[in-house]
């Protein structure tokens, strides 16, 4: 598989297919990219096709995205996504990062549904030494959000990070619950939520695109976070999502601790696929 210089053979094409499909790029995008790799490689000066593949993927991804701005007081960030993707852990990682940048961060425990959800975020907030607003088990998450915004105002927080319950994008009533939270935020703080980030598990295959479409349609996402990139999955679905919905991939999760969150780097992503 490693860099054979010169023209692409049928065996090379099969290898390319295996790498791209194996990275969860999906069939359609894989075939389109292979066509592009072929023409780049033909036009090239006989360098290895790995370099052509890297450049095509980088072209597809575009430049490293801008760091999100946190200008509003409070800047309200929603973390949404399907069950088990890593929202709660990512909320803690983001709180840690921004706290270390000198921001006053407040957490909102808006997963009032799942067993142990509030307790889980409580552990994180204790480790962080920051405040958190929580409601009763099974309280209306929109009411917890409302209280959290009030508290953020009162404490002059720079940032309010809202953790939400996991939900499948196919569940209309649960998506409506999130839509309501967006409205509540917008009425309480003009422009809120300022960031609505979809948390995606890198192990997810084609369904990731469907998740992104539905969450985007419901809420208007502003970015993606791909977690569990420390595993063996390459997270290729993020390329299709970025392409189709124009959503920047902002962060990747690389483990279970505070510091295991990095800004997404397209260069590193392309090199991991085609070293």
């Amino acid at each position: 598989l490693l860099g054979k210089p010169g023209r692409l053979t049928d065996a090379d094409i099969e290898d390319l297919e295996e790498v791209l499909i194996g990275a969860d790029f999906g069939v359609g995008l894989t075939f389109r990219l292979i066509e592009q790799i072929r023409s780049v490689e033909k036009a090239g000066s006989g360098g290895d096709w790995m370099a052509a593949a890297r450049s095509v993927v980088l072209e597809e991804l575009g430049p490293k995205p801008q760091m999100p701005t946190m200008q509003a007081t409070p800047t309200v960030v929603f973390l949404v996504g399907v069950n088990g993707a890593g929202k709660t852990t990512t909320a803690a990682k983001l709180a840690w990062r921004y706290k270390n940048e000198g921001k006053a961060v407040l957490l909102a425990a808006c997963d009032t549904f799942r067993a142990g959800a509030i307790e889980q975020l409580r552990v994180w907030r204790e480790r962080l030494g920051i405040s958190m607003v929580e409601g009763a088990y099974r309280a209306d998450p929109a009411s917890v959000l409302f209280e959290a915004i009030a508290k953020a105002r009162e404490e002059r927080s720079d940032m309010l990070i809202v953790d939400t319950a996991g939900r499948l994008h196919t569940k209309r009533n649960l998506m409506a619950e999130l839509e309501k939270m967006v409205r509540v935020a917008g009425r309480a703080v003009p422009g809120a939520p300022h960031h609505t980030w979809l948390v995606l598990d890198a192990n997810t295959g084609g369904n990731a695109i469907q998740q992104a479409r539905q969450f985007h349609q419901s809420l208007g996402l502003t970015g993606l976070i791909v977690t569990k990139m420390d595993g063996t999955s390459k997270g290729g679905a993020l390329v299709s999502i970025q392409k189709e919905l124009g959503l920047p991939v902002l962060w990747i999760g690389l483990g279970e601790a505070f510091e295991d969150l990095e800004a997404f780097d397209p260069q590193q992503f392309a090199e991991a696929l085609f070293p």
């Binding site: 890593g86 067993a115 990731a208 595993g231």
Partner: protein, 293 residues
């Protein structure tokens, strides 16, 4: 759907003659693409198509159905045959006396919730399960399991004072015997299949407990890495079955085919919701219609 695509590829084949390698090659390509689009692993799809092609070649083209329909039927039957477990292997094998189930899998796959669901089901079947909190890492994992235990009415064994999961499991078994429980449901922490140290923790847990079932809990939406994940857990532990979770979504479920094909282990149960009653027996035919779209 696959059926319509295959109708097109066979437009030129009349209702006579045999299915040959040349006249079915385009159909085989369509089948491979359909499987890949359903998240079936690249190599598993290729191998499956090769096997299916061999089954097709030489078959007489029947007069009663179109060649496209005939190929679809062969694919359908091959998939059903692959996904169906052999007899008693399909169900949970929990003998009388103290039966032990070990739940394993990647982070967030649904192990803890499935442990609660399984307890609820076993109680309804007249058994007396005890839940064992062997996830000593995730914040509030023990709280989560204890809440589920309360909800279903099953005792939960936990020990917040130690990180030795083997000791926790051994102690749990003693207490379970004293309380006349007859099933031990052991929840473990999510882990990467490439984390040798944590995989070794599971091996030590297995060696201590000698479980009757080692269930790999996996998200139905898992992509191409389903193969390497299932293989690693299976090679290390000897998985006895797979639980496919979040099948209440719209993931196609190709991961199920990949895991079954590569480990030979059956899908025993499926998670179909967040509530504790949302656990079903696996139906191969339903998964196959989902795969073929």
């Amino acid at each position: 759907a696959l059926g319509e695509k295959l109708q097109k590829t066979f437009r030129n084949l009349r209702g006579r003659g045999k299915l040959s390698e040349s006249n079915i090659s385009q159909a085989m390509r369509e089948i491979r693409l359909a499987l890949l689009e359903a998240d079936v692993n690249f190599r598993v799809a290729r191998d499956f198509v090769a096997t299916t092609q061999a089954k097709c070649i030489g078959q007489e083209v029947l007069n009663s159905i179109t060649p496209g329909q005939q190929v679809v039927k062969i694919v359908h039957d091959e998939l059903i045959a692959l996904m169906s477990g052999e007899g008693k292997d399909q169900a949970l094998n929990l003998p009388g006396g103290m039966a032990t189930v070990l739940m394993v899998g990647l982070h967030g796959s649904g192990k803890t919730t499935t442990t609660g669901k399984l307890a609820k089901r076993l109680i309804a079947e007249g058994r007396k399960p005890m839940l064992v909190a062997c996830d000593v890492y995730r914040p509030a994992a023990i709280d989560q399991l204890e809440t589920l235990g309360q909800e279903v009415g099953a005792p939960v064994y936990s020990d917040r004072a130690t990180q030795d999961v083997v000791a926790i499991a051994a102690a749990a078994r003693k207490v379970a015997l004293q309380q006349e429980c007859n099933v031990l449901l052991v929840d473990t922490a999510g882990r990467l299949h490439i984390d040798d140290e944590l995989i070794d923790e599971l091996v030590r847990l297995r060696d201590k407990l000698k479980p009757h079932e080692i269930l790999l809990v996996a998200d139905a939406a898992t992509g191409q890495e389903a193969v390497s994940i299932a293989e690693r857990f299976d090679k290390a532990l000897g998985v006895t079955g797979v639980v496919l979770t979040r099948l209440d979504g719209d993931a196609r479920g190709g991961a199920a085919l990949s895991m079954r094909a590569v480990t030979g282990k059956p899908i025993k149960l499926v998670g179909v919701g967040e509530k504790l009653d949302a656990l079903d027996v696996f139906h191969p035919d339903r998964l196959v219609s989902r795969l073929l779209g």
